[in-house]
């Protein structure tokens, strides 16, 4: 399991890091917050970059859902079709993770194509 770190990086640094990973020949995916309801910790437009080794950069929550998003991202890298994920307190059974803050967040996951 890769170490999960939450550096204080801006969203632009996320894409710079993803670009760097891609230039090194890794497969990559990008997760973007496209909607929030209630007290979600990261605003719309926040991004998480993922590589095929499970390395993460940036964030789409306060650390509650990044692991689950990364697992989905690895499947998106394999299959190609983007996904929309939704996390909230009511979705704990569906995703096995929830937001402790009680908010709801929608995340778009896409892979970086060649």
């Amino acid at each position: 399991m890769a170490t999960v770190t939450y550096d204080a990086l801006t969203r632009d640094d996320v894409l710079a890091t993803v670009t760097d990973w891609r230039d090194k020949g890794r497969r990559t995916a990008i997760a973007t917050v496209i909607g929030t309801w209630g007290s979600s910790p990261r605003p719309v437009g926040s991004q998480l970059g993922i590589d095929d080794a499970g390395n993460l950069v940036g964030s789409v929550s306060g650390g509650c859902i990044e692991g689950a998003v990364a697992r989905e991202a690895l499947e998106v890298m394999d299959q190609g079709q983007p996904r929309v994920l939704e996390f909230g307190v009511s979705n704990e059974q569906a995703w096995e993770v929830g937001l402790a803050c009680g908010g709801t967040v929608r995340v778009f996951v896409e892979r970086v194509e060649d």
């Binding site: 496209i34 437009g45 194509e113």
Partner: protein, 236 residues
């Protein structure tokens, strides 16, 4: 996302050009907009295109009406221009960079503005008025003077007041600040101009060390950027 678009976003950021990426979330098809037209795999109607432009103006990412298209606005980073490569600047510059600001430190005194003291930070050894003429602070820029020296601070504040910078602050105690305001008043600035200067710089959190004072200034800059009330003229 196509790799070509990823590189385009980086290039726009480097060139300080705004760029919006529009994504159809059902299949991931994407286009991008430079503020005028949309290029790429998507064709937008006039209403959607106008909504994209409005979101770019407001730096406001979100779904368009209809729930099909997501607009991600990549605005150029907000800038912070620090005049005075002093000890407080050594704390403020890296802190502001972590907070997402593009930081430039200006100081014509060569022994202060060195890469040893400011690793990875953009430096200028021009006189502050010349530097600000080159840097052209816009409404997404902040100017903070830290030198205490009227020879350096005053030209910087004069240039900042003639710009639409969203945050202007000057370090110095109350007496220093009132003398500074007097000089700027004599130079022809109106009270409404002078009221734009946050002085003494920073929020009143009892800051004493350089890092604490940098924290108080960064916090005040964030508050002003997000239109929160700040305590005017408070001691840091």
């Amino acid at each position: 996302m196509r790799a070509e678009l990823l590189y385009r976003i980086q290039a726009a950021r480097a060139g300080r050009q705004p760029l919006a990426v529009i994504t159809r979330i059902s299949d991931g098809a994407q286009g991008h907009c430079d503020g005028d037209v949309v290029t790429g795999a998507l064709r937008l109607g006039d209403g959607d295109l106008e909504a994209v432009r409005a979101r770019m103006r407001d730096d406001n990412s979100g779904m368009l009406a209809g729930g099909e298209l997501f607009v991600h606005v990549h605005a150029p980073p907000v800038r912070l221009i620090i005049v005075g490569a002093v000890h407080i600047a050594q704390a403020l510059a890296p802190m502001a960079r972590i907070a997402g600001y593009d930081v430039t430190v200006v100081d014509p005194r060569g022994t202060f503005a060195t890469t040893d003291r400011f690793p990875g930070i953009a430096l200028s050894d021009e006189w502050p008025d010349d530097a600000l003429e080159i840097l052209e602070p816009d409404a997404r820029a902040a100017v903070v003077t830290l030198t205490h020296d009227p020879k350096l601070d005053d030209p910087a504040l004069t240039a900042a007041l003639r710009s639409p910078a969203f945050y202007i602050a000057a370090l110095g105690g109350r007496r220093t600040h009132s003398l500074r305001l007097e000089r700027l008043r004599e130079a022809g600035f109106a009270e409404t101009d002078l009221a734009r200067i946050n002085g003494p710089a920073g929020l009143p959190i009892g800051a004493t060390s350089p890092a604490e004072i940098a924290t108080s200034i960064l916090a005040q800059m964030i508050a002003v950027r997000h239109h929160r009330p700040v305590v005017p003229g408070a001691e840091p």
